[in-house]
């Protein structure tokens, strides 16, 4: 299956019929999830209405780290099997992950101001998220820093794999250190500790974000493929400066 889809043309043919429906799904899920979370979910007994920030903060944070994980896995594929398509996937996911990590920090600080009384603390969870953001910046920077864009792929892939160290630190920072950020409440050994009525809109939002990130990454992949075709056409025409 992966081998079959690794060919760009077959991949484009494969996603053509399902691409539009993925976009519709993401819109629907996010719409329903926003409605449920804003109007049809209970207030928190301590935090009141501000708890509703969680319904976008958690998906942003999850997908910021999940996209980094997928970038590093794609980079491992790229370095071992040298398949250029893995590199295109990694490059396409990076800008979205950067935006997600910035939005995680922004929504988190908007939530932190009323709850903790500050926009920002140098807490383990917050700092490791900031470092993830810096890694995204470095990844995008190094993959575009070379005169020929293709030369940046391998250094960027190495950087993505090195930056993987940060992911377990983000996940377990709330357990290892005594942080102001609350501990994990969904992925735990003893099942989720969150209220059922709050869990439903959150899960719907997470599904919506999943479809949305797939949709945007597909668009990015198509753009990058077109750019690559354009480059090879220019090479065929004999214009040296690419």
């Amino acid at each position: 299956m992966i081998n079959y889809l690794a060919n760009p043309n077959r991949f484009l043919n494969f996603i053509k019929p399902i691409e539009f429906s993925i976009g519709v799904f993401s819109f629907l899920f996010i719409f329903i999830g926003l409605y449920l979370s804003l109007f049809n979910s209970p207030e928190d007994y301590q935090q009141g209405d501000t708890v509703r920030i969680m319904y976008i903060h958690v998906p942003f944070a999850w997908f910021a780290s999940f996209l980094y994980l997928s970038i590093s896995i794609a980079s491992i594929f790229f370095l071992i099997w040298r398949h250029p398509f893995a590199d295109i996937i990694a490059r396409s996911a990076a800008p979205l992950g950067l935006i997600f990590s910035i939005l995680t920090i922004l929504t988190g600080s908007l939530w932190g101001k009323p709850m903790w009384g500050t926009w920002w603390v140098w807490d383990a969870r917050l700092t490791s998220m900031l470092i993830l953001c810096i890694f995204y910046f470095a990844y995008i920077g190094i993959s575009n820093a070379f005169p020929r864009k293709i030369d940046g792929s391998k250094p960027a892939a190495i950087l993505a794999i090195v930056g993987m160290v940060n992911l377990p630190i983000i996940k377990f920072s709330v357990d290892w250190w005594n942080t102001l950020h609350q501990p994990a409440s969904i992925i735990r050994f003893d099942g989720p500790s969150i209220n059922q009525e709050m869990l439903l809109p959150l899960v719907i939002m997470l599904l919506g974000f999943l479809f949305m990130s797939i949709f945007i990454i597909l668009i990015n992949i198509k753009t990058n493929l077109i750019y690559k075709k354009y480059q090879s056409e220019i090479l065929k025409l004999g214009w040296l400066d690419v």
């Binding site: 070379f146 020929r148 391998k154 190495i158 090195v162």
Partner: protein, 227 residues
Amino acid sequence: MKINFKNILIALIEKEFKSYLRSINNFMNIIVFMIAIIILFPLTVGPSEEKLTLVSNAIVWIALIVSIIPTLDKIYISDFKNGWLEQYYYSPLLLEIIILIKCFVFWFFLIIPLTIFIPIFSILLNIPFLIIFWNIIIFAIGSLGFCLIGSICSSLTLGTKSTNLISPLLILPLAIPIFIFGNGVVEAVKSNYDPLPNLYLLITVCLILLIISPLISAYSIKIALTK
């Protein structure tokens, strides 16, 4: 001269040492930058002693680190430009070992001499002697890890146009464990706890880097050479 491992090693160290000796400007650059930061801090924070004692240790550290970073990402750049790296690549010695030697020489001849400035700056900022002693130890150990991180970053950015822009972004996140454990040692000394656990963690980080960094650097240098 017979060609064996020992002779190659000595020749390599001699060559590196001479190249550092001839580019003494780099070293002077670091020192001038450091002095500028040390002078600027009391002027901007205000000369009152209570405020300064709170941040004095941090000032010394910031001065050292910020002034080292611009030279860190240039470990390989001159060798890359004049073709030495290719010679290293084709030499019978493993590229990893050569990188390790280069990092050690860089650390020994460019960074270790900076430790004589720590007591001078610390006395200027009224830091107690015990902490000065620990600072020197932490700096000597932590800067080796710092050089190894710099080796990763400078090999990754070989051949780029804008090295100055990317390398701080690469160096800082990787160097955070060194800062945390180094600060842990100083905090423990200040509050009369045992500083050794944090020191051991610092040494652990540097040892892990000692294993990983030459591998990654050699791989990315190979990539840079085959472009």
